[in-house]
């Protein structure tokens, strides 16, 4: 695969990832505002988020998906996954091209990103 073609595929991937997550966040926002639109939010102190909004397993449970906030958070996680998917894509592309240096570079970056998510 030529570098130029890879650039165009990467471009599509980023656009779709951001678009899909924005739609999910908007859908969640609609549900959230219809449930809590009248309430006044308070972010003065830091309390941390409940476990359901901090872990992948929590976010993917049916319970969470019934709440607007759960949908929003899922959209945000999809957004965080978008750059990760881009790195995974370039890893495969460079492996296919037998460009070992950049396959290793992509693998190293992907490992770093996965490490960050191990805690989630």
């Amino acid at each position: 695969m030529e570098d130029r073609r890879l650039e165009i595929i990467v471009s599509h991937l980023l656009r779709v990832g951001v678009g899909a997550s924005a739609l999910l966040v908007m859908a969640g926002a609609t549900v959230y505002l219809s449930q809590h639109g009248a309430a006044v939010a308070d972010y003065h102190g830091f309390h941390g988020e409940p476990a359901a909004y901090r872990t992948l397993s929590g976010l993917l449970s049916l319970e969470t998906l019934h709440h607007g906030q759960g949908l929003i958070q899922l959209g945000l996680v999809l957004l965080i996954f978008t750059p990760m998917a881009r790195v995974a894509l370039t890893l495969m592309a460079f492996l296919g091209k037998r460009d070992w240096i950049y396959a290793a570079v992509s693998a190293l970056v992907l490992a770093t990103l996965l490490y960050s998510f191990m805690s989630a």
């Binding site: 570098d3 130029r4 890879l6 650039e7 165009i8 990467v10 471009s11 599509h12 980023l14 656009r15 990832g17 951001v18 997550s21 924005a22 966040v25 969640g28 926002a29 959230y32 809590h36 939010a41 972010y43 003065h44 102190g45 830091f46 309390h47 941390g48 988020e49 409940p50 909004y53 901090r54 607007g68 906030q69 759960g70 929003i72 958070q73 945000l76 996680v77 957004l79 965080i80 996954f81 978008t82 750059p83 990760m84 881009r86 790195v87 370039t90 240096i101 950049y102 570079v105 992509s106 190293l108 970056v109 770093t112 990103l113 490490y115 960050s116 998510f117 191990m118 805690s119 989630a120």
Partner: protein, 257 residues
């Protein structure tokens, strides 16, 4: 367009003007930074400005730095974060007031490390494709590790420092530096986002309006900025940033944040 304007604005507005806890502000900012940078990168990569190889190689430094920064963020008291943030804001204000370097023709000799990493490339200009040679890769790499750490600590893209590392450090053309910086910001931010998420810094109720607002603003801003007086905008923008920096440092020192 100016190479900054995402998180560096969002965090102080949320923390100072709206009284949001700094940790929630940083979490919401980081998420919106991923959205705008990935959205813009999609266009820049397609147009052939970004140097993907340079970006991917330097992402090793920024993502490791970002993880380090995010761990720091969970340990350093918010007053300390506010003071570092103020210092970064001051620099950003100074950078946006400064002159944009012009794209000089390529006079540099090929660099050995850059050649080995196949970093040299070309980009579109008014008079066809212009080739360039990447210089001083280790310096750029070290600066990128710092940029990544600041990104993870403060929830910003740290685009200004990334551009500096590539433009001044590695002698890339300005357009290539700014678009490649944009390309890297998504991965850098994603590296600390996992840690932020698990520590409960990302609140859906707060991040939702911030992310949607910043994304809509960046789509609109790109069009408006095309036909507006950049010089005046930079001046106003720089002044606002310096004011916020002073406020941020003051609040940090007096322990209000």
């Amino acid at each position: 367009m100016t190479g900054l304007g995402g998180g560096v604005i969002v965090v102080p507005v949320l923390a100072i003007a709206l009284g949001v806890d700094l940790r929630y502000a940083i979490g919401a900012s980081l998420v919106s930074v991923i959205a705008t940078s990935s959205g813009a990168a999609a266009a820049f990569v397609r147009e052939g400005y970004s140097n993907m190889r340079v970006g991917m190689f330097l992402e090793i430094a920024t993502s490791l730095g970002a993880i380090f920064g995010a761990f720091l963020a969970t340990r350093v008291p918010t007053a300390g974060i506010a003071i570092v943030f103020g210092a970064v804001l001051l620099y950003s204000g100074y950078a946006s007031l400064g002159q944009t370097p012009s794209d000089a023709a390529d006079t540099e000799k090929p660099d050995r490390v850059a050649g080995w990493l196949k970093l040299d490339s070309s980009y579109p200009t008014g008079h066809g494709m212009q080739t360039y040679h990447v210089q001083r890769v280790p310096l750029g790499f070290a600066l990128m590790a710092i940029a990544g750490a600041l990104s993870g600590l403060l929830g910003i893209g740290s685009g200004a420092l990334k551009v500096l590392a590539m433009d001044r450090g590695m002698r890339l053309p300005f357009k290539v530096s700014s678009t490649t910086s944009n390309f890297m910001i998504g991965v850098t931010a994603a590296a600390s986002a996992g840690i932020y998420l698990s520590r409960g810094y990302i609140d859906p109720g707060l991040a939702m309006p911030v992310m949607l607002g910043v994304l809509a603003g960046s789509l609109l801003g790109a069009r408006v900025l095309m036909r507006s007086r950049i010089r005046l905008l930079r001046l106003v923008f720089g002044a606002v940033i310096v004011l916020m920096a002073v406020e941020m440092i003051y609040n940090g020192v007096t322990g209000k944040l």
